[in-house]
């Protein structure tokens, strides 16, 4: 599968849409290209914007209704912009029986958002997951691709702190 790099030409939509066109061109002859294209779009923009949907529908020659249908079926695609850091609390069985719900409560309280919402500063989006395959370290939360294990509700503040401080330093490493 084609590797998708974060656009280096700035984050303006125009530049990203151009980049998307290139990606679609490399993927469009693959059978079943829609989902790989949507995955590339999601990682390029951090969500799937309206303009991208129009472009995908046109270039892949798929009806808009189908593109929307696929986007809304899979939980990894988001129609709303997401925060820079997506926090996912594992609510898989191993994490659940070891107190994942309390972590979720603590996060909701610290961030003042509900599941699926993003903080006003666009830094954090709170979400839940169903097992990250790190059950041996339960309870687990993921912040983008970082795994934090054996989390206690009282750790939440510290974990959030390490990311909000990073905000000023530089872009997260992929």
């Amino acid at each position: 599968m084609a590797k998708v790099e974060k656009c280096s030409c700035g984050t303006d939509e125009e530049g990203l849409l151009e980049r998307l066109t290139e990606i679609i061109n490399t993927l469009k002859d693959k059978p079943g290209a829609l989902i790989p294209v949507l995955q590339a779009t999601q990682s390029l923009f951090g969500f799937i914007p309206q303009e991208a949907i129009l472009k995908i529908s046109e270039m892949l020659n798929e009806p808009l209704s189908k593109v929307y249908g696929v986007i809304t079926f899979y939980s990894f695609f988001s129609l709303k912009p997401r925060g820079k850091y997506v926090i996912r609390v594992c609510l898989g069985t191993a994490c659940y029986v070891q107190g994942a719900n309390e972590i979720l409560t603590a996060l909701k309280q610290q961030l003042s958002v509900e599941i699926g919402e993003t903080t006003p500063d666009k830094l954090f989006t709170l979400d839940v997951g169903r097992c990250f395959g790190a059950c041996g370290l339960a309870p687990v939360i993921m912040v983008n691709d970082d795994v934090h294990q054996w989390v206690k509700p009282s750790d939440v503040k510290k974990i959030l702190g390490t990311y909000s401080r990073r905000k000023v330093v530089n872009k997260e490493e992929e």
Binding site: M1, P31, G32, A33, L34, I35, P36, L38, Q39, K66, G69, V70, F73, Y74, S75, F76, F77, L91, G92, T93, A94, C95, Y96, V97, Q98, E102, T105, A106, Q109, G129, R130, C131, F132, G133, A134, C135, G136, L137, A138, V140, D145, V147, H148, Q149, K152, P153, S154
Partner: protein, 621 residues
């Protein structure tokens, strides 16, 4: 980990593979002394890469420079003890190693010859040094995981040196498609993805249907919460899956395969892609493999976070680029699968068994296991057990051995209550059945299933009604909504169990649950709905008294069900006011330095006060 593809040329026949293997096994690198560092997902999360960097740097600066290789391996098994390091020359096992311990290990052990006691594993009061003597390893039988922890997963040369691709070579040079299928049938291997369908039979069906193209698919969606076997295989020994798929492709007559990996596993995707590229570079994927007419190539497709896509027809629909909704069977995928072509779908672990099976022969393979279920099974042991991690045992091993001998017993000191096996399609095994052999038939008799291998141990603090509610919520969330019995039936069941958890249940609810369960099981379109009632049925069967307590006495003995519990502040309260500050509904009253009180009418039982209190002055019951 970076790509290690060198300028290689294709291996054209069995002799060239043998020659390469002997060259590799006699190489300096292969025979050098090694330090194995677990680079499984769990240990990486625990910081094993920092440990590795410290080893590399400090060895380079020491007089050992050039004599010892620091090797990243796949999952060594005991995730809870990570980061894990094994010293190759004397098989010493170090646990919970941090970067600052590296100096000790190098100076005292590698140079001085003395093990570092405080990093050893403790069994009772004794520290055990040798990995092979740890109860965790001693009681296992690592066959499928034989390479996991011994080879570097991103180096195909390591795999080849350990006999990798010999089975593919054997199949292509001295077997026919039919004899491969016969061996697989004779081995008695059953699918490891959950349903346990005989693999040889499945391949035989797909072989029978003629078409210009056939597909072979690997199910790496691993959606059961609490399962991480497939992840560990892909991360630790990806070539075994590629080799198994290639053999399967040869057997059914396919030239294109897809591996469908769930989105939550970026590391597995990365390592599998590296492995595919390396196999291509050696001509082990591509055209004219081993100089024969057999062509085969592989592509990775990533999932996008839908549990139902683990179901075979939904997975196929998803690769085709659609909403991952299952479709009715027949036609079965063996006849009309991906793009309506004959298709075989197997689980990661199933494929990983194949090279071993072909090398040994089916009958030898069948010597392990029980009468009806052959070989070994990998389990992901998690929950309240001391050593959670990845374990492999012969099919039919008693549950007790997994929990106590391998897992080291319950971590909380509380009694064992149940083990949940088989995820949302499975059930709970109570203490009186701890000796059940883990095989397909025995588990079915208890209302559980073997499933894919997730095994979650629960102690007395888990509420079994809440566990049933948890799984109903899961299947409700993940039901694709295509068929009514699954979509509406599970919603109705969840309403009832919710009500019971809130203390508003009636005794007649229990019959209603069983009746609904029957309908959902019989009338749903795919396995998700057909098995969704299992967690409820199994808890009703083994823990009915807890349901009755919730309904009749309005009591949750584990204080898990929020509506049935009360929070109280004890005399230990010193009036620090932190609970009062965090309470989101201002239900806590009290002056500074005075004993505080919770107004139970206002309290929403969020538990924040309890987790905030530093003086253990708050209890729930």
């Amino acid at each position: 980990m970076e790509d290690t593809i060198k300028n290689t040329h294709s291996i054209k026949n069995a002799e060239e593979l043998n020659a390469l293997q002997s060259k590799l096994t006699s190489s300096k690198e292969f025979n050098s002394e090694k330090i194995y560092i677990c680079a499984g997902g769990g240990c990486i999360a625990s910081g094993s890469m920092k440990v590795k960097d410290a080893f590399v740097k400090q060895i380079a600066e020491s007089k050992l420079n050039g004599t010892i290789e620091v090797m990243e391996t796949g999952c060594l098994g005991p995730c809870a003890l990570g980061p894990v390091v094994v010293i190759g020359k004397d098989d010493t096992f170090y646990q919970s190693v941090r970067a600052q311990d590296v100096k000790d290990i190098i100076e005292n052990h590698l140079v001085g010859g003395q093990v570092v006691p405080h990093l050893l594993h403790l069994v009772g009061d004794t520290r055990v040094a040798k990995k092979s003597e740890l109860p965790f390893y001693k009681n296992q039988d690592k066959k499928v995981l034989r390479n996991c922890g011994k080879i570097n997963p991103v180096k195909i040369e390591d795999y080849i040196a350990c006999g990798g691709y010999q089975a593919l070579s054997k199949a292509l040079s001295s077997m026919t498609a039919e004899t491969v299928i016969n061996e697989v049938t004779a081995s008695g291997l059953r699918g490891r993805g959950g349903a346990g369908f005989p693999t040889g039979t499945k391949w035989g069906f797909a072989r029978k249907y003629q078409d210009d193209e056939k597909y072979i698919l690997c199910n790496a969606d691993e959606g059961d919460p609490g399962a991480f076997m497939d992840r560990s295989i892909l991360e630790g020994d990806p070539h075994s899956v590629i080799e198994g798929m290639a053999i399967g492709a040869f057997a059914i007559g396919s030239s294109q395969g897809y591996v469908y990996v769930r989105a939550e596993y970026p590391l597995a995707v990365e390592r599998l892609q590296i492995a595919i590229d390396q196999a291509r570079a050696y001509g082990l994927l591509g055209h004219h493999i081993f100089g024969t007419a057999f062509n085969f190539d592989l592509e990775i497709r990533k999932g996008s976070g839908a549990f139902v896509c683990g179901e075979e027809t939904a997975l196929i629909t998803s690769i085709e680029g659609n909403r991952g909704e299952p479709r009715p069977r027949p036609p079965f995928p063996a006849e009309k699968g991906l793009w309506n072509k004959p298709t075989v779908l197997n689980n990661v672990e199933t494929f990983s068994n194949i090279p071993l099976l072909i090398n040994q022969g089916g009958l030898k393979f069948a010597e392990t296991g029980t009468d009806k279920s052959k070989g070994t099974k990998i389990f992901a042991l998690a929950g309240t057990v001391n050593i959670s991690g990845l374990v492999e045992v012969p099919v039919g091993t008693p549950l007790r051995k997994l929990v106590y001998d391998i897992g080291g017993g319950i971590s909380t000191g509380k009694p064992y209550k149940a083990a949940q096996i088989g995820g949302p399609s499975g059930g709970c095994i109570p203490a009186e059945h701890l000796d059940v052999p883990l095989d397909y038939e025995s588990l079915n008799k208890l209302g559980a299933i073997m499933g894919s291998g997730g095994l979650i141990v629960m102690d007395e603090s888990s509420c079994m009604v809440d566990v049933a509610r948890f799984f109903l919520e899961f299947v409700q969330d993940e039901s694709c909504g295509k068929c009514v019995p699954c979509r509406e039936g599970t919603a109705r069941m969840k309403q009832i169990v919710d009500r019971i958890c809130q203390g508003q249940g009636q005794m007649s609810d229990l019959d209603e649950l069983e009746r609904l369960a029957g309908t959902v099981t019989n009338a749903s379109l795919c396995g998700l709905g057909q098995t969704a009632p299992n967690p409820v049925l199994s808890t009703l069967r083994h823990f009915k008294d807890e349901y009755i307590e919730h309904i009749r006495d309005k009591k949750c003995r584990t204080a898990v069900c929020k509506d049935l519990i009360v929070f109280e502040i004890l005399d230990a309260c010193n009036g620090c006011q932190s609970c009062k500050k965090v309470c989101p509904v201002e239900a806590i009253h009290g002056e500074k330095k005075q004993h505080h009180i919770i107004n139970t009418d206002l309290c929403i039982r969020c538990g924040l006060c309890l987790s905030t209190c530093k003086f253990d002055a708050i209890v729930k019951y």
